[in-house]
Amino acid sequence: MYRRNWSIVIALLVVASMLLAACGGGAEPTPVPAATEAPAAAAPTEAPAAEAPTEAPAAEEPTVAPTEPPAAEEPTMAPTEAPAAGAACPAGSPTLTIWADKERNAALLTIQDQVLAETGVCLDLQEVGFGDIRSNVSLAAPAGEGPDIFVGANDWLGELAANGVPAEMDLGAKAADFDPVSLQAFTFDGKLLGLPYAVENVAFVCNSDLVPTPPTTYDELKTMAQEMQDAGTVQQFFGLMAGDPYHQEPINTAFGGYIFGQTETGYDACDVGLDSQGAIDYLTWIDGMVKDGLLSADVTWDTAHTLFDTGDAACMITGPWAIQRFQDAGINFSIGAVPGQAQPGSPFVGVQGFMVNAFSDDRVLAQSFLTDYIATQPVMEALYETGDRPPAYLPARGVMDETATAFAAVTESGHPMPNIVAMSAVWSSWGDAIVTVFQQSATPEQAAATAAQQVRAAAGCE
């Protein structure tokens, strides 16, 4: 009896997994049509089928290649790549494997069929978490298991380039169509290593009902905060999360602080500006705000945004990703330049783009696909629609809505996020320094000194 129970359990599990597999198969109709329809539709015009009638006598000989990966020695008309296992690609068609996150994947999906029909190349779209792409690609690419094309951010370049992963990109005449800041951000060591599609940066967002004219300096902000919090209009005027150098870079730069000094070719990892006077001034301002009860160590990213959602915070520094929730919450808000102080505040500009895997045997094909299909208005617009970030491709900027236009206006005041490897030390050390000031466990001078020393030590600069 017990034994029977067991077999029932196991049988149930197996049946359940099979049922689910069956349902799962039915629930994703998108890749399937590509498999069932495409060959038929493509047959009259496309290569594999077209060859047979025209080249009938010689058709045997060139079809040697399928298993031969480089295909470099012997030129041949035969498709060189076996289709990826499990992918919905027609047998024999060359395949470009693309790793992209959900939003980018959705945009690429719109051209999958078109590319197959027009070129006979099948796009094998694989959704990978954005952060996972970075960690997995360095491991997978050299092992020959990586994608042909992947999506990434410009601040990964230091690490990826050291591993030789991204192939040098040649945009040809199309380079002129891209926002120069975005190309600069994807240039590492003098080489363009990606095709940018979006720029993103934070801006200063204020609740228009509470603050009709946003403050333009941090002194002004402080005064306003003091007044409104004293009056009880808001719980915390400035919704700034404790920590996180990314959102606070525009404050740091407004006070004259910097992270790494620049050279002609890039950044100097040993010129660490975290203990510069400007950076200390910025931390001192934070310190004063905390002491006056205008900022709190208890505010996290979630807290800050929720406070803004409910009208309990009046202004904050945030990016396009938060806009939807503000709209859902029915808040009227303005998006504008970040306040200045000693100088205008300059946010980090992050740039996202497509990169070609240098270890891929299909690099040239991948590059051709990117320049011919991705660097086009419809695809860039689709990428904008799913991602809501201002396009790096200027001709596609026409479709931007008000929000994106407002963020794009702030981009001009920004500077690319440093793409050197040493940046990873900044995130933890500088982040800790800011937190200790918020928590009042270190003075601004101590915190700045600690962070700068930590980064220098990590980079081996002492």
């Binding site: 030129p75 041949t76 491991l139 030789g164 160590a297 406070l307 915190a447 081996g460």
Partner: protein, 528 residues
Amino acid sequence: MAVPTAEGTGGRKASRFSQDGSVLGLLVKVLGLSAIVGLLTYTGWRLLGDGAYAFAAAFFITALFFTLVFVRKSTVPLRWIMPGLVFLILFQLYPIFFTVYTAFTNYSTGRNVEKPAAIAAIERLTYVPEGSPAWGWTPLQADDGSAAVWIIDPADGAAYLAVPDEDLVPAAEVNGLQLDANGAPASMDGFTVLPNNQRFLFVSANQGVTFGDEERGVQVTSSTEARQTRQRYVYDPELDAMIDQRDGTIFVSQMGIFTAEDGSTLAPGYPVWVGVENFTSIITNPAIRGPFFTIFIWTFIWAFFSVLETFILGLLLALNMNSPNIPFQRILRVLLIVPYAIPAFITVKVWVGLLNPVLGVIGSAWNPGWFTDPFWAKIGILMVNLWLGYPYMFLIITGALQSIPGDIYEAARVDGAGPFYQFRRLTLPLLMVSIGPLLIGSFAFNFNNFAIIDLYNSGGPPIPGSATPAGYTDILISYTYRIAFGGARGNDYGLAAAISIIIFAIVATVTILNFRFTGQLEEVSENV
């Protein structure tokens, strides 16, 4: 051996057990054994062919071990263990060896492929000689099926037929050439002009193919352009260096990275053996020694209390639910293990949210500094771990209670022992026999429980003024992880491996000390 084996007792006594020392049984054994050993050897052999020596060795050793165990009579008990051991060796021990080996190399960002792969990757880089044109091209197919291109210089309109390994043929010498309105070829003798929609397929099929002779040949570099690309770097095995074909610069291999005299480097590099350098850097680096002691102590406290609290609650609940009289016993038990059934990375985030001082249900009512106070952050994280961890203990103890023979209790009851006495003198010792090793395992697990530390508060609140980024709730593994992977030089796998060996030494010491404890318990059980 204390217990007689089949060989010893077989056929001694007619009994209710049939003897199966038959030919068939033997045959099955031999066939099964040779199949497994054959498979392992085959895989090892293929690996050897691919140059994966260490990995091949793992397979050969496993195969050899397997054979020995099944051939020799004295290793009969090992035969039972062998099937599991195969997996353990390949997927648990091999990674450990890999880690130990890595600890003696400088494997890191920028040095993450083997030398041959690094050389191959660099040799794939190309350059275009100055002044050579960006040709336009048209795909052609020769009558024998091989590929060729028609190239045209957009600057002066000079056009050629380019066939691999042959001199470029000027347009004027091509027989039967017909041009279309755009100046592109429409037809010619011996070749078929492929339509434009085949350009991508052509590119795909002919990557790396040079059309034309060695000197002037071109490669297709995009769907419309062909360039006179040349290999940029060539490896010179004698110098162990890459030579830049463009200007003759020599990049000599230094610690796994090809470096020129002016300091410029080529990517990727490859790991090289550095001896004990990673270990000495741990000892001598003030950044690593910095807050080490504080973190070390907290790691022990964390692991110890995590085990203790989850064990106590798990035990309490298991005992509580172990009465046959409880209604809905099965449903209630299911509800008690719910925390175990939901992925930790959402529940930890929910706990963090609940403790949030502004928004959280708990935090807004009572906030001693769940994330900002060094002491209360530790309490908070222990609290969350209790919730996450007790169902595991509950499950195991529930199982263990079932296998304690009921007649023991009856005897005790006859002797007049009360329930508390029964628990202390019978249940607990017997439980410890089966649960003891598990507690050690749980200790080791929590000792290295990076995920929850990271999810709760990323190790924070930060320790002000420490030489290297560290927080009050950081445990050794999260702290060192940050040093090895969050440093300014990218991911330092060599250092990470060295650190994990040191952590292993610590945990192993604790574990071995515990063996004495469990060793005693084992003797208790043998007296049962």
